[in-house]
Protein backbone atom coordinates (compact mmCIF):
# COMPACT_ATOMS: atom_id res chain seq x y z
CA UNK A 1 0.00 0.00 0.00
CA UNK A 2 1.73 3.21 -1.02
CA UNK A 3 -1.00 5.63 -2.02
CA UNK A 4 -1.84 8.52 0.24
CA UNK A 5 -4.94 8.21 2.39
CA UNK A 6 -6.56 10.77 4.62
CA UNK A 7 -6.61 9.60 8.23
CA UNK A 8 -7.01 10.85 11.78
CA UNK A 9 -3.82 10.65 13.85
CA UNK A 10 -5.25 8.19 16.35
CA UNK A 11 -6.59 5.89 13.63
CA UNK A 12 -3.44 6.07 11.54
CA UNK A 13 -1.37 5.09 14.55
CA UNK A 14 -3.68 2.15 15.22
CA UNK A 15 -3.47 0.93 11.62
CA UNK A 16 0.31 1.31 11.68
CA UNK A 17 0.46 -0.87 14.79
CA UNK A 18 -1.55 -3.57 13.04
CA UNK A 19 0.72 -3.32 10.01
CA UNK A 20 3.69 -3.74 12.37
CA UNK A 21 2.28 -7.11 13.42
CA UNK A 22 0.48 -6.06 16.59
CA UNK A 23 -2.60 -8.23 17.08
CA UNK A 24 -3.22 -7.64 20.79
CA UNK A 25 -4.66 -4.42 22.16
CA UNK A 26 -5.80 -3.87 25.73
CA UNK A 27 -7.21 -0.52 26.84
CA UNK A 28 -9.61 1.45 28.95
CA UNK A 29 -11.68 4.34 27.54
CA UNK A 30 -10.39 7.88 27.98
CA UNK A 31 -10.52 11.10 25.97
CA UNK A 32 -8.66 12.05 23.76
CA UNK A 33 -7.38 8.59 22.71
CA UNK A 34 -10.91 7.34 21.99
CA UNK A 35 -10.56 6.87 18.21
CA UNK A 36 -7.51 4.69 18.66
CA UNK A 37 -9.28 2.06 20.76
CA UNK A 38 -12.44 2.30 18.67
CA UNK A 39 -10.41 1.66 15.52
CA UNK A 40 -8.70 -1.33 17.13
CA UNK A 41 -12.02 -2.78 18.26
CA UNK A 42 -13.26 -2.65 14.68
CA UNK A 43 -10.11 -3.80 12.88
CA UNK A 44 -8.44 -6.35 15.12
CA UNK A 45 -11.19 -9.02 15.01
CA UNK A 46 -11.03 -8.80 11.18
CA UNK A 47 -7.34 -9.68 11.13
CA UNK A 48 -7.47 -12.47 13.71
CA UNK A 49 -6.43 -10.19 16.54
CA UNK A 50 -7.64 -9.52 20.07
CA UNK A 51 -9.21 -6.29 21.27
CA UNK A 52 -10.07 -6.33 24.95
CA UNK A 53 -11.55 -3.49 26.94
CA UNK A 54 -10.10 -3.95 30.40
CA UNK A 55 -11.64 -2.98 33.74
CA UNK A 56 -8.96 -0.34 34.30
CA UNK A 57 -5.68 0.96 32.93
CA UNK A 58 -3.95 -1.12 35.59
CA UNK A 59 -5.55 -4.28 34.24
CA UNK A 60 -4.88 -3.19 30.64
CA UNK A 61 -1.14 -2.74 31.10
CA UNK A 62 -0.96 -6.06 32.95
CA UNK A 63 -2.77 -7.78 30.09
CA UNK A 64 -0.19 -6.21 27.79
CA UNK A 65 2.46 -7.57 30.13
CA UNK A 66 0.99 -11.08 29.90
CA UNK A 67 0.70 -10.99 26.12
CA UNK A 68 4.24 -9.60 25.81
CA UNK A 69 5.51 -12.31 28.16
CA UNK A 70 3.87 -14.88 25.90
CA UNK A 71 5.90 -13.44 23.03
CA UNK A 72 3.46 -11.41 20.90
CA UNK A 73 3.49 -7.74 19.96
CA UNK A 74 1.03 -6.02 22.29
CA UNK A 75 -0.01 -2.46 22.94
CA UNK A 76 -2.19 -0.20 25.01
CA UNK A 77 -3.21 3.40 24.60
CA UNK A 78 -4.46 5.95 27.08
CA UNK A 79 -4.22 9.56 28.10
CA UNK A 80 -2.51 11.22 31.04
CA UNK A 81 -4.60 10.10 34.06
CA UNK A 82 -4.66 6.58 32.66
CA UNK A 83 -0.91 6.56 32.09
CA UNK A 84 -0.41 7.32 35.79
CA UNK A 85 -2.23 4.06 36.53
CA UNK A 86 -0.03 2.17 34.10
CA UNK A 87 3.21 3.16 35.79
CA UNK A 88 3.23 0.07 38.04
CA UNK A 89 2.97 -2.24 35.04
CA UNK A 90 5.52 -0.23 33.06
CA UNK A 91 8.02 -0.60 35.89
CA UNK A 92 7.45 -4.37 36.08
CA UNK A 93 7.86 -4.67 32.32
CA UNK A 94 11.14 -2.76 32.46
CA UNK A 95 12.31 -4.98 35.31
CA UNK A 96 11.24 -8.11 33.41
CA UNK A 97 12.76 -6.98 30.09
CA UNK A 98 9.43 -7.10 28.27
CA UNK A 99 8.70 -5.19 25.06
CA UNK A 100 5.43 -3.38 24.39
CA UNK A 101 4.09 -0.14 22.97
CA UNK A 102 2.23 2.39 25.11
CA UNK A 103 0.54 5.38 23.53
CA UNK A 104 -0.08 8.50 25.59
CA UNK A 105 -2.38 10.98 23.85
CA UNK A 106 -1.68 13.60 26.48
CA UNK A 107 -4.25 15.95 27.97
CA UNK A 108 -3.91 18.66 30.57
CA UNK A 109 -3.18 17.75 34.19
CA UNK A 110 -2.64 17.43 37.11
CA UNK A 111 -5.52 15.42 38.46
CA UNK A 112 -8.42 15.06 36.12
CA UNK A 113 -7.05 18.21 34.50
CA UNK A 114 -8.76 18.82 31.19
CA UNK A 115 -9.27 17.13 27.87
CA UNK A 116 -7.44 19.59 25.63
CA UNK A 117 -3.95 18.89 24.17
CA UNK A 118 -0.98 19.03 26.51
CA UNK A 119 2.65 18.00 26.83
CA UNK A 120 2.71 18.04 30.60
CA UNK A 121 3.61 14.34 30.91
CA UNK A 122 7.12 14.93 29.51
CA UNK A 123 8.88 14.39 32.83
CA UNK A 124 6.76 11.36 33.67
CA UNK A 125 7.62 9.77 30.32
CA UNK A 126 11.33 10.52 30.18
CA UNK A 127 12.31 10.66 33.86
CA UNK A 128 10.03 8.39 35.85
CA UNK A 129 7.55 6.28 33.88
CA UNK A 130 7.59 3.89 36.86
CA UNK A 131 9.46 3.29 40.11
CA UNK A 132 13.08 2.19 40.11
CA UNK A 133 16.13 2.73 37.92
CA UNK A 134 14.69 2.53 34.45
CA UNK A 135 14.02 4.10 31.08
CA UNK A 136 11.50 3.51 28.35
CA UNK A 137 11.90 4.56 24.74
CA UNK A 138 9.88 7.73 24.13
CA UNK A 139 9.12 9.13 20.70
CA UNK A 140 7.20 12.26 19.83
CA UNK A 141 5.45 12.49 16.45
CA UNK A 142 4.52 15.89 15.03
CA UNK A 143 2.46 14.77 12.03
CA UNK A 144 -0.01 12.03 11.30
CA UNK A 145 2.65 10.48 9.05
CA UNK A 146 5.03 10.38 11.99
CA UNK A 147 2.34 8.77 14.14
CA UNK A 148 2.52 5.96 11.57
CA UNK A 149 6.28 5.84 11.11
CA UNK A 150 7.18 6.08 14.80
CA UNK A 151 4.59 3.43 15.73
CA UNK A 152 6.27 0.85 13.50
CA UNK A 153 9.66 1.86 14.81
CA UNK A 154 8.47 1.66 18.41
CA UNK A 155 7.52 -2.01 18.00
CA UNK A 156 10.84 -2.84 16.34
CA UNK A 157 12.96 -1.05 18.94
CA UNK A 158 10.91 -2.41 21.86
CA UNK A 159 11.61 -5.92 20.60
CA UNK A 160 15.23 -5.18 19.80
CA UNK A 161 16.02 -3.81 23.26
CA UNK A 162 13.36 -5.81 25.17
CA UNK A 163 11.78 -2.78 26.84
CA UNK A 164 8.58 -0.72 26.67
CA UNK A 165 8.34 2.04 24.09
CA UNK A 166 6.00 4.99 24.46
CA UNK A 167 4.55 7.22 21.79
CA UNK A 168 4.05 10.56 23.47
CA UNK A 169 1.53 12.48 21.39
CA UNK A 170 -1.24 14.88 22.29
CA UNK A 171 -4.91 15.41 21.66
CA UNK A 172 -4.23 17.72 18.72
CA UNK A 173 -2.26 15.10 16.76
CA UNK A 174 -4.67 12.38 17.75
CA UNK A 175 -7.69 14.20 16.38
CA UNK A 176 -6.18 15.91 13.34
CA UNK A 177 -6.62 14.51 9.81
CA UNK A 178 -3.74 14.47 7.35
CA UNK A 179 -2.76 12.45 4.31
CA UNK A 180 -0.48 9.52 5.14
CA UNK A 181 1.32 6.74 3.33
CA UNK A 182 0.93 3.50 5.24
CA UNK A 183 3.79 1.01 5.27
CA UNK A 184 3.54 -2.57 4.04
CA UNK A 185 3.26 -5.49 6.44
CA UNK A 186 6.48 -7.07 7.73
CA UNK A 187 8.01 -9.18 4.93
CA UNK A 188 8.43 -12.39 6.90
CA UNK A 189 7.38 -13.67 10.31
CA UNK A 190 8.59 -11.58 13.25
CA UNK A 191 11.74 -12.86 14.97
CA UNK A 192 10.96 -15.63 17.47
CA UNK A 193 11.30 -14.71 21.14
CA UNK A 194 13.19 -17.58 22.71
CA UNK A 195 12.79 -16.07 26.17
CA UNK A 196 8.95 -16.01 26.09
CA UNK A 197 6.84 -17.86 28.67
CA UNK A 198 4.66 -19.67 26.18
CA UNK A 199 5.02 -23.25 27.33
CA UNK A 200 8.30 -25.18 27.08
CA UNK A 201 6.67 -28.10 25.22
CA UNK A 202 9.07 -30.40 27.06
CA UNK A 203 11.68 -29.21 24.60
CA UNK A 204 13.69 -26.58 26.47
CA UNK A 205 14.41 -25.49 30.06
CA UNK A 206 11.56 -23.48 31.55
CA UNK A 207 11.46 -19.73 31.01
CA UNK A 208 10.81 -17.36 33.91
CA UNK A 209 9.63 -13.78 33.43
CA UNK A 210 10.47 -11.95 36.61
CA UNK A 211 11.64 -8.66 38.07
CA UNK A 212 12.37 -9.87 41.62
CA UNK A 213 15.93 -10.24 42.92
CA UNK A 214 16.11 -10.75 46.66
CA UNK A 215 19.90 -10.51 46.56
CA UNK A 216 20.78 -6.80 46.24
CA UNK A 217 24.03 -7.58 44.41
CA UNK A 218 22.16 -9.56 41.78
CA UNK A 219 19.57 -6.81 41.42
CA UNK A 220 22.32 -4.25 41.03
CA UNK A 221 23.97 -6.46 38.43
CA UNK A 222 20.73 -6.79 36.44
CA UNK A 223 20.17 -3.04 36.52
CA UNK A 224 23.73 -2.31 35.43
CA UNK A 225 23.30 -4.68 32.50
CA UNK A 226 20.13 -2.85 31.54
CA UNK A 227 21.94 0.49 31.77
CA UNK A 228 24.57 -0.81 29.33
CA UNK A 229 21.70 -1.30 26.91
CA UNK A 230 20.44 2.22 27.66
CA UNK A 231 23.89 3.54 26.80
CA UNK A 232 23.77 1.87 23.39
CA UNK A 233 20.31 3.33 22.90
CA UNK A 234 21.47 6.82 23.85
CA UNK A 235 24.32 6.54 21.35
CA UNK A 236 22.35 5.14 18.45
CA UNK A 237 18.64 5.75 18.61
CA UNK A 238 18.09 9.48 19.02
CA UNK A 239 16.21 11.20 16.22
CA UNK A 240 15.64 14.88 15.55
CA UNK A 241 14.78 17.31 12.80
CA UNK A 242 16.95 20.31 12.15
CA UNK A 243 14.92 23.14 10.62
CA UNK A 244 17.05 26.19 9.76
CA UNK A 245 19.07 25.60 12.92
CA UNK A 246 22.54 25.41 11.32
CA UNK A 247 23.11 29.17 11.31
CA UNK A 248 20.47 30.02 13.88
CA UNK A 249 21.16 32.42 16.74
CA UNK A 250 17.83 31.76 18.37
CA UNK A 251 17.22 28.02 18.45
CA UNK A 252 13.79 26.84 19.40
CA UNK A 253 13.57 23.34 20.82
CA UNK A 254 10.08 21.99 20.49
CA UNK A 255 8.45 18.64 19.76
CA UNK A 256 5.10 17.22 18.78
CA UNK A 257 2.18 19.41 17.76
CA UNK A 258 3.76 22.47 19.41
CA UNK A 259 6.73 22.29 17.06
CA UNK A 260 4.41 22.95 14.10
CA UNK A 261 3.39 26.28 15.58
CA UNK A 262 7.03 26.98 16.45
CA UNK A 263 8.02 26.37 12.81
CA UNK A 264 5.47 28.89 11.59
CA UNK A 265 6.81 31.44 14.08
CA UNK A 266 10.38 30.76 12.91
CA UNK A 267 9.39 31.43 9.29
CA UNK A 268 7.92 34.77 10.32
CA UNK A 269 10.98 35.61 12.41
CA UNK A 270 13.24 34.86 9.46
CA UNK A 271 11.07 37.24 7.43
CA UNK A 272 11.91 39.88 10.00
CA UNK A 273 15.63 39.16 9.71
CA UNK A 274 16.00 37.15 12.90
CA UNK A 275 18.15 34.03 12.50
CA UNK A 276 15.79 31.63 14.19
CA UNK A 277 15.75 27.86 13.76
CA UNK A 278 14.25 24.73 15.21
CA UNK A 279 15.65 21.60 16.74
CA UNK A 280 12.81 19.13 16.97
CA UNK A 281 13.37 15.99 18.99
CA UNK A 282 11.56 13.00 17.49
CA UNK A 283 12.82 10.94 20.38
CA UNK A 284 12.59 12.32 23.92
CA UNK A 285 14.33 9.30 25.37
CA UNK A 286 16.96 9.16 24.09
CA UNK A 287 17.10 12.97 24.00
CA UNK A 288 19.05 14.32 21.00
CA UNK A 289 21.83 15.71 23.18
CA UNK A 290 24.49 15.88 20.49
CA UNK A 291 22.25 17.93 18.20
CA UNK A 292 21.59 20.40 21.02
CA UNK A 293 25.31 20.62 21.83
CA UNK A 294 26.03 21.21 18.14
CA UNK A 295 23.41 23.95 17.86
CA UNK A 296 24.81 25.58 20.98
CA UNK A 297 27.93 26.45 18.96
CA UNK A 298 26.06 29.08 16.91
CA UNK A 299 23.13 29.83 19.20
CA UNK A 300 22.91 32.89 21.37
CA UNK A 301 19.94 31.39 23.16
CA UNK A 302 17.67 28.38 23.14
CA UNK A 303 13.94 28.67 23.64
CA UNK A 304 12.11 25.60 24.82
CA UNK A 305 8.59 25.83 23.42
CA UNK A 306 6.19 23.43 25.08
CA UNK A 307 2.63 22.85 26.16
CA UNK A 308 3.75 22.54 29.77
CA UNK A 309 5.43 24.71 32.38
CA UNK A 310 8.86 24.02 30.91
CA UNK A 311 9.51 20.39 31.67
CA UNK A 312 12.09 20.03 28.86
CA UNK A 313 14.16 23.10 29.82
CA UNK A 314 16.59 21.25 32.11
CA UNK A 315 17.29 18.62 29.48
CA UNK A 316 18.33 21.33 27.02
CA UNK A 317 20.50 22.97 29.68
CA UNK A 318 22.21 19.67 30.41
CA UNK A 319 22.67 18.84 26.72
CA UNK A 320 24.49 22.16 26.10
CA UNK A 321 26.23 22.05 29.48
CA UNK A 322 24.63 25.43 30.29
CA UNK A 323 26.92 27.01 27.67
CA UNK A 324 23.98 28.94 26.22
CA UNK A 325 21.01 30.43 28.11
CA UNK A 326 17.80 28.43 27.82
CA UNK A 327 14.61 30.49 27.82
CA UNK A 328 11.15 29.06 27.98
CA UNK A 329 7.89 29.85 26.33
CA UNK A 330 4.87 27.67 26.82
CA UNK A 331 1.18 27.43 27.49
CA UNK A 332 -0.31 24.73 29.59
CA UNK A 333 -3.55 23.23 30.85
CA UNK A 334 -4.72 22.50 27.30
CA UNK A 335 -3.98 25.94 25.84
CA UNK A 336 -2.20 25.72 22.48
CA UNK A 337 0.39 28.49 21.99
CA UNK A 338 -0.32 30.65 18.95
CA UNK A 339 2.15 31.81 16.31
CA UNK A 340 2.05 35.45 17.34
CA UNK A 341 2.92 34.86 20.94
CA UNK A 342 5.82 32.56 20.01
CA UNK A 343 7.03 35.13 17.46
CA UNK A 344 6.80 37.83 20.11
CA UNK A 345 8.91 35.73 22.45
CA UNK A 346 11.49 35.07 19.72
CA UNK A 347 11.76 38.83 19.09
CA UNK A 348 12.09 39.56 22.79
CA UNK A 349 14.77 36.90 23.18
CA UNK A 350 16.61 38.17 20.11
CA UNK A 351 16.67 41.70 21.57
CA UNK A 352 17.81 40.44 24.93
CA UNK A 353 20.80 38.53 23.59
CA UNK A 354 21.83 40.96 20.81
Amino acid sequence: MSERVLMKGNEALAEAAILAGCRHFFGYPITPQTELAAYMSKRLPKVGGVFLQAESEIAAINMVQGAAAAGVRAMTSSSSPGISLKTEGISYMCGSNLPCVIVNIQRGGPGLGGIQPSQADYCQAVKAPGHGDLHILVSAPATVQEMVDLAGKAFDLADKYRMPAMILADGMLGQMMEPVVLPGEPAGPLPKKEWAASGHNNGRPKNIINSLYLDPYMLEESIKKRYERYKIIEENESLHENYLADDAEIVLVSYGATSRVAKAAINMARGKGIRAGLLRPLTLYPFPKKAVAEAAKTAKAFISVEMSMGQMVDDIRLACDCSVPVEFFGRTGGVIPNVDEILGFIEKTDRRYK
Binding site: H24, F26, V50, L52, A54, E55, S56, I58, A59, A60, N62, M63, V64, Q65, G66, A67, A68, A69, A70, G71, V72, A74, E88, G89, Y92, S96, A197, S198, G199, H200, N201, N202, G203, K206, N207, I208, I209, N210, S211, L212
Partner: protein, 245 residues
Protein backbone atom coordinates in the same frame (compact mmCIF):
# COMPACT_ATOMS: atom_id res chain seq x y z
CA UNK B 1 0.03 -45.82 46.88
CA UNK B 2 3.26 -47.76 46.22
CA UNK B 3 5.73 -44.91 46.67
CA UNK B 4 5.65 -41.21 47.50
CA UNK B 5 7.60 -39.43 44.78
CA UNK B 6 8.06 -35.77 43.96
CA UNK B 7 5.71 -34.84 41.11
CA UNK B 8 7.61 -34.10 37.91
CA UNK B 9 6.13 -30.60 37.65
CA UNK B 10 7.46 -29.68 41.11
CA UNK B 11 11.06 -28.45 41.03
CA UNK B 12 13.61 -30.21 43.20
CA UNK B 13 14.62 -27.10 45.14
CA UNK B 14 14.18 -26.02 48.75
CA UNK B 15 11.05 -23.86 49.11
CA UNK B 16 10.89 -20.59 50.96
CA UNK B 17 7.91 -21.62 53.09
CA UNK B 18 7.98 -21.84 56.88
CA UNK B 19 7.99 -25.31 58.43
CA UNK B 20 4.45 -26.65 58.68
CA UNK B 21 2.99 -24.12 56.24
CA UNK B 22 0.35 -25.61 53.96
CA UNK B 23 1.49 -23.64 50.88
CA UNK B 24 3.75 -26.62 50.18
CA UNK B 25 0.86 -29.09 50.18
CA UNK B 26 -1.02 -26.90 47.71
CA UNK B 27 2.00 -26.73 45.42
CA UNK B 28 2.10 -30.49 45.41
CA UNK B 29 -1.58 -30.79 44.47
CA UNK B 30 -1.08 -28.46 41.50
CA UNK B 31 2.07 -30.28 40.37
CA UNK B 32 0.34 -33.69 40.62
CA UNK B 33 -2.53 -32.33 38.55
CA UNK B 34 -0.15 -30.99 35.88
CA UNK B 35 1.58 -34.39 35.76
CA UNK B 36 -1.65 -36.36 35.57
CA UNK B 37 -3.05 -34.19 32.80
CA UNK B 38 0.30 -34.26 30.98
CA UNK B 39 0.25 -30.50 30.47
CA UNK B 40 3.56 -29.27 31.89
CA UNK B 41 4.83 -28.36 28.43
CA UNK B 42 1.92 -26.10 27.70
CA UNK B 43 1.22 -24.69 31.14
CA UNK B 44 2.15 -21.14 32.13
CA UNK B 45 1.85 -20.28 35.83
CA UNK B 46 1.52 -16.80 37.29
CA UNK B 47 3.14 -16.18 40.66
CA UNK B 48 1.69 -13.44 42.88
CA UNK B 49 3.20 -11.07 45.39
CA UNK B 50 3.03 -12.73 48.79
CA UNK B 51 4.68 -15.70 50.46
CA UNK B 52 4.34 -17.59 47.18
CA UNK B 53 6.11 -14.91 45.14
CA UNK B 54 8.94 -17.38 44.50
CA UNK B 55 6.51 -19.98 43.12
CA UNK B 56 8.19 -19.32 39.78
CA UNK B 57 11.11 -21.32 41.14
CA UNK B 58 8.98 -24.16 42.46
CA UNK B 59 7.06 -25.28 39.36
CA UNK B 60 8.77 -26.68 36.30
CA UNK B 61 6.43 -25.12 33.75
CA UNK B 62 7.06 -21.65 32.30
CA UNK B 63 6.34 -19.00 34.94
CA UNK B 64 5.65 -15.27 35.15
CA UNK B 65 5.84 -13.14 38.29
CA UNK B 66 2.96 -10.62 38.34
CA UNK B 67 2.55 -7.33 40.22
CA UNK B 68 0.60 -7.55 43.49
CA UNK B 69 -3.01 -8.49 42.69
CA UNK B 70 -2.61 -8.37 38.90
CA UNK B 71 -2.14 -12.07 38.23
CA UNK B 72 -5.60 -12.54 36.64
CA UNK B 73 -4.93 -9.63 34.24
CA UNK B 74 -1.48 -10.99 33.36
CA UNK B 75 -2.99 -14.46 32.87
CA UNK B 76 -5.66 -12.90 30.65
CA UNK B 77 -2.97 -11.37 28.43
CA UNK B 78 -1.10 -14.66 28.14
CA UNK B 79 -4.24 -16.67 27.49
CA UNK B 80 -5.46 -14.27 24.80
CA UNK B 81 -2.05 -14.48 23.12
CA UNK B 82 -1.70 -18.27 23.29
CA UNK B 83 -5.20 -19.67 23.87
CA UNK B 84 -4.18 -23.32 23.50
CA UNK B 85 -1.97 -23.12 26.57
CA UNK B 86 -3.09 -23.79 30.13
CA UNK B 87 -2.91 -20.84 32.53
CA UNK B 88 -3.04 -20.82 36.29
CA UNK B 89 -2.58 -18.09 38.84
CA UNK B 90 -1.53 -18.78 42.42
CA UNK B 91 -2.68 -16.02 44.77
CA UNK B 92 -3.01 -15.22 48.44
CA UNK B 93 -5.97 -13.46 50.01
CA UNK B 94 -4.38 -10.03 50.12
CA UNK B 95 -3.33 -10.40 46.51
CA UNK B 96 -6.67 -11.70 45.25
CA UNK B 97 -9.29 -10.17 47.52
CA UNK B 98 -7.79 -6.77 48.42
CA UNK B 99 -5.43 -5.13 45.94
CA UNK B 100 -6.47 -7.43 43.09
CA UNK B 101 -10.23 -7.53 43.66
CA UNK B 102 -11.03 -5.74 40.42
CA UNK B 103 -8.75 -7.96 38.36
CA UNK B 104 -10.25 -11.07 39.98
CA UNK B 105 -13.88 -10.09 39.62
CA UNK B 106 -13.50 -8.95 36.02
CA UNK B 107 -11.50 -11.97 34.88
CA UNK B 108 -14.30 -14.05 36.40
CA UNK B 109 -17.03 -11.93 34.82
CA UNK B 110 -15.40 -12.22 31.40
CA UNK B 111 -15.36 -15.96 31.84
CA UNK B 112 -11.65 -15.78 31.21
CA UNK B 113 -10.60 -19.35 30.51
CA UNK B 114 -8.01 -19.58 33.27
CA UNK B 115 -7.66 -21.38 36.60
CA UNK B 116 -7.17 -19.46 39.82
CA UNK B 117 -5.71 -21.18 42.87
CA UNK B 118 -6.66 -18.95 45.77
CA UNK B 119 -4.86 -19.55 49.06
CA UNK B 120 -6.95 -18.16 51.91
CA UNK B 121 -4.97 -18.07 55.14
CA UNK B 122 -6.84 -15.13 56.71
CA UNK B 123 -3.66 -13.07 56.97
CA UNK B 124 -0.94 -11.22 55.08
CA UNK B 125 1.85 -13.74 55.50
CA UNK B 126 4.75 -12.23 53.59
CA UNK B 127 4.64 -8.81 55.21
CA UNK B 128 4.48 -10.19 58.73
CA UNK B 129 0.89 -10.87 59.68
CA UNK B 130 -1.30 -7.88 58.96
CA UNK B 131 -5.09 -8.03 58.73
CA UNK B 132 -6.27 -9.50 55.42
CA UNK B 133 -9.62 -9.02 53.67
CA UNK B 134 -10.35 -12.57 54.83
CA UNK B 135 -9.26 -12.13 58.47
CA UNK B 136 -12.08 -13.22 60.75
CA UNK B 137 -14.11 -10.92 63.02
CA UNK B 138 -12.18 -10.49 66.31
CA UNK B 139 -9.04 -12.03 64.75
CA UNK B 140 -5.92 -10.53 66.27
CA UNK B 141 -3.31 -9.53 63.72
CA UNK B 142 -0.46 -7.03 63.63
CA UNK B 143 -2.79 -4.31 62.32
CA UNK B 144 -5.84 -5.40 64.29
CA UNK B 145 -4.13 -5.79 67.67
CA UNK B 146 -7.45 -5.59 69.55
CA UNK B 147 -9.10 -8.05 67.18
CA UNK B 148 -10.73 -7.24 63.84
CA UNK B 149 -13.44 -4.77 64.71
CA UNK B 150 -16.15 -5.20 62.10
CA UNK B 151 -17.55 -1.74 62.95
CA UNK B 152 -14.37 -0.18 61.62
CA UNK B 153 -12.70 -2.81 59.45
CA UNK B 154 -15.85 -4.35 58.01
CA UNK B 155 -16.47 -7.97 57.24
CA UNK B 156 -14.32 -10.66 55.64
CA UNK B 157 -14.90 -11.32 51.95
CA UNK B 158 -16.27 -14.73 51.04
CA UNK B 159 -14.71 -15.09 47.63
CA UNK B 160 -16.42 -18.24 46.35
CA UNK B 161 -19.86 -16.94 47.36
CA UNK B 162 -19.12 -13.60 45.69
CA UNK B 163 -17.78 -15.02 42.44
CA UNK B 164 -20.42 -17.72 42.10
CA UNK B 165 -22.96 -15.01 41.27
CA UNK B 166 -21.08 -14.24 38.05
CA UNK B 167 -22.15 -15.96 34.85
CA UNK B 168 -18.58 -16.21 33.58
CA UNK B 169 -17.57 -18.55 36.39
CA UNK B 170 -17.63 -22.19 35.32
CA UNK B 171 -16.33 -23.74 38.48
CA UNK B 172 -15.86 -22.48 42.05
CA UNK B 173 -15.11 -24.70 44.99
CA UNK B 174 -13.82 -24.08 48.50
CA UNK B 175 -11.62 -26.77 49.98
CA UNK B 176 -9.16 -27.06 52.88
CA UNK B 177 -5.80 -28.71 53.38
CA UNK B 178 -6.07 -29.50 57.10
CA UNK B 179 -6.63 -33.27 56.92
CA UNK B 180 -5.94 -36.19 54.62
CA UNK B 181 -9.59 -36.34 53.67
CA UNK B 182 -9.77 -32.65 52.87
CA UNK B 183 -6.45 -32.70 51.01
CA UNK B 184 -7.75 -35.50 48.80
CA UNK B 185 -10.83 -33.48 48.11
CA UNK B 186 -8.72 -30.41 47.41
CA UNK B 187 -6.74 -32.39 44.86
CA UNK B 188 -9.96 -33.40 43.10
CA UNK B 189 -11.08 -29.78 43.01
CA UNK B 190 -7.77 -28.54 41.59
CA UNK B 191 -7.90 -31.17 38.88
CA UNK B 192 -11.50 -30.37 38.08
CA UNK B 193 -10.64 -26.68 37.77
CA UNK B 194 -7.82 -27.39 35.31
CA UNK B 195 -10.08 -29.76 33.37
CA UNK B 196 -12.76 -27.07 33.17
CA UNK B 197 -10.20 -24.79 31.53
CA UNK B 198 -9.00 -27.46 29.12
CA UNK B 199 -12.65 -28.10 28.17
CA UNK B 200 -12.94 -24.30 27.59
CA UNK B 201 -15.76 -23.91 30.11
CA UNK B 202 -14.58 -20.54 31.43
CA UNK B 203 -13.19 -19.18 34.67
CA UNK B 204 -12.40 -21.73 37.38
CA UNK B 205 -11.33 -21.02 40.94
CA UNK B 206 -10.40 -23.21 43.87
CA UNK B 207 -10.30 -21.41 47.20
CA UNK B 208 -8.07 -23.33 49.53
CA UNK B 209 -8.33 -22.70 53.27
CA UNK B 210 -4.71 -22.80 54.36
CA UNK B 211 -2.70 -22.22 57.51
CA UNK B 212 -0.06 -19.68 58.49
CA UNK B 213 1.47 -21.05 61.68
CA UNK B 214 4.14 -18.34 61.74
CA UNK B 215 1.85 -15.33 61.75
CA UNK B 216 -0.98 -16.97 63.63
CA UNK B 217 1.62 -17.62 66.36
CA UNK B 218 0.76 -21.31 66.60
CA UNK B 219 2.53 -24.61 66.09
CA UNK B 220 1.73 -26.26 62.75
CA UNK B 221 -0.59 -28.74 64.48
CA UNK B 222 -2.36 -26.09 66.55
CA UNK B 223 -2.66 -23.98 63.43
CA UNK B 224 -4.65 -26.73 61.73
CA UNK B 225 -6.91 -26.92 64.80
CA UNK B 226 -7.40 -23.15 64.71
CA UNK B 227 -8.23 -23.40 61.00
CA UNK B 228 -10.87 -26.08 61.69
CA UNK B 229 -12.35 -24.31 64.69
CA UNK B 230 -12.44 -20.77 63.30
CA UNK B 231 -12.11 -20.67 59.54
CA UNK B 232 -14.21 -23.61 58.42
CA UNK B 233 -17.38 -22.39 60.20
CA UNK B 234 -17.00 -18.97 58.54
CA UNK B 235 -15.91 -20.33 55.17
CA UNK B 236 -18.04 -23.42 54.51
CA UNK B 237 -16.39 -25.94 52.22
CA UNK B 238 -18.18 -27.08 49.11
CA UNK B 239 -18.89 -26.49 45.45
CA UNK B 240 -20.31 -23.02 44.85
CA UNK B 241 -20.60 -23.22 41.09
CA UNK B 242 -20.28 -26.06 38.64
CA UNK B 243 -21.09 -25.61 34.99
CA UNK B 244 -18.61 -28.23 33.88
CA UNK B 245 -20.95 -31.14 33.23
Amino acid sequence: MPSFKRPKALADVPTSYCPGCTHGVIHRLIAETIDELGIEGKTVGIAPVGCSVLAYNFFNCDMIQAPHGRAPAVATGVKRAIPDNVLFTYQGDGDLAAIGTAETVHAAARGENITVIFVNNAIYGMTGGQMAPTSLPEQVTQTSPYGRDIKSAGFPIKVCELLSTLDGVAYAERVAVDSVKNIRNAKKAVKKAFEAQIAEKGFSIVEIISSCPTNWGLTPVDALDWLRDNMLPYYPLGIYKDKTS
